[in-house]
Amino acid sequence: MTRFLFIMTLFILFIIEGTVVQVFAPDRWGLSIVMVPRFIVVILIISSLFLGRFQGLVLGFIFGLMYDVVYGNILGVYAFSMAFIGYFSGVTFRIFQHNIFLILATVIVALFVHELIVYGILTLVNFVVMDFELFLMEKLIPTLVLNVIFALLVSFPLRTILVQMREEEEK
């Protein structure tokens, strides 16, 4: 049951990213910075800390592929990046789960890597032409700020849910 609710939450966040958040996006108010909501990736990172790397891989792949189909055209970019992040966030020490600061640190590092992977792939195939410096200042840092705030908000309730889920599975 908890598991079902968890997946539903991810799904709702998936829809909110493209609709509600876009209504309040900074570029709509004439700012040049871009804040990309990466709420699914944040939840994915935290959950694979608790549920292990394999679950992170599968969840990341499924939601990444959905992201590719719905919000993009090129298949495989987000499927790869999210599966990659889901897997490698799972490969951390268990002490990372107990300390909220360590969780946040993991989120920051993993998000940074995730954005770099997406930027890297899209630049490699020449789909995106953007200076790295511009990307760093206008896109990467604002994105990190937005998503770390989101991570701060959800990390406490999410941890309780994830611990509960793990216990249900172990029974």
Binding site: F14, I15, I16, E17, G18, T19, V20, V21, Q22, V23, F24, A25, D27, R28, V34, V36, P37, M66, V69, V70, Y71, G72, N73, I74, L75, G76, V77, A79, F80, A83, F88, V91, T92, F93, V118, I121, L122, V125, N126, F127, V128, V129, M130, L134, K139
Partner: protein
């Protein structure tokens, strides 16, 4: 920490990287026809997006309205003044239209490049990462939308339909810098000056207007509309105004920057434009402008 570069995992990582590169490579090109799996996913998620987007938009509009309230009085005065001019213009347009029609009849022309049919649609989502400058609208194949149709708001051209599924379709905005939509366009002036719109400058928020004949005299503030010669867009869709002129890289043609008339961030209702003119009977462009054809196969719309 388990060593994550053990043999088995390294091979798995390599294989999935290779798979990813292959799939990205296969789907990188424009795909107007989606597979049924993609269509199904887009349509079913589109339904939920529709449910969520409208109330959110309503809330945002409410706050925007609050701001506007302050300026209503002065704006009203201005608009009243404009209204009188408008009435005069309308009368003149009416007159010109009838004249145009009668002239057409004498020339026995059935249809013109500027004939089109409009379908209204609502935006239901926008791609959150700004790598894809793309929005989804709530009209699809079942409503008669086809790939490559022009999409505009009341203010001007905003993009074109790039993939269609049954009940939704995605619109690629003109601000998509990388994969330039090539639009055959014309500057309105005493004589028509033709060129092609290729690409978008994100920093200056302006479109590149290239391949303008060298001897053409441009001015800032001139309006640019679609020319209809690309065979897909009708003639006469408003694109924007020239903000800057510059020589081309090789000095053979001119370039200009165009500021799009439409707001590319804030819009909810869009119009999908279907050209009703049969592409088979396009009049050939005049001799001087045919240098567009050797453009490395790039297709102008």
């Amino acid at each position: 920490m388990p060593s994550f570069f053990s043999n088995k995992r390294l091979i798995f990582l390599l294989v999935s990287t290779i798979l990813m590169v292959v799939v990205v490579g296969l789907t990188l090109d424009e795909r107007p026809q989606l597979t049924w799996v993609e269509q199904f996913t887009r349509d079913s998620i589109g339904f939920f997006q529709m449910v969520v987007y409208k109330p959110a938009q309503g809330v945002a509009n409410f706050f925007a309205n609050m701001n506007e309230m302050k300026q209503v009085y002065s704006e009203n005065q201005k608009l009243k003044a404009h209204l009188q001019e408008n009435a005069k213009l309308m009368a003149k347009i009416k007159e010109l239209e009838t004249e145009n029609e009668s002239l057409r009849e004498t020339q026995e022309l059935q249809s013109s490049l500027s004939d089109f049919q409009l379908r209204s649609a609502q935006v239901i989502s926008r791609s959150p990462d700004r790598w894809y400058q793309q929005v989804t609208i709530d009209r699809g194949e079942k409503h008669g939308i086809e790939p490559n149709m022009a999409v505009m708001t009341a203010e001007g051209l905003i993009g074109r339909v790039n993939a269609v599924s049954q009940f939704t379709s995605t619109v690629e905005l003109i601000s998509n810098a990388n994969r330039a939509i090539h639009i055959s366009a014309v500057v309105q002036g005493e004589e028509n000056i033709y060129g092609v719109i290729e690409g978008y400058d994100a920093e200056q928020e302006a479109l590149y207007f290239r391949k303008i004949p060298k001897d053409a005299e441009l001015e800032e503030g001139q309006t640019v509309i679609t020319s209809g010669w690309g065979g897909v867009f009708p003639r006469g869709l408003f694109i924007g105004e020239i903000v800057e002129m510059m020589p081309d890289e090789y000095g053979l043609t001119q370039s200009a920057l165009i500021e799009p008339a439409a707001d590319l961030y804030e819009f909810q209702h869009v119009l999908v434009v279907e050209r009703t003119f049969d592409a088979g009977e396009i009049p050939p462009p005049p001799e001087e402008e045919t240098d567009e054809e050797d453009d490395g196969g790039a297709e102008a719309l």
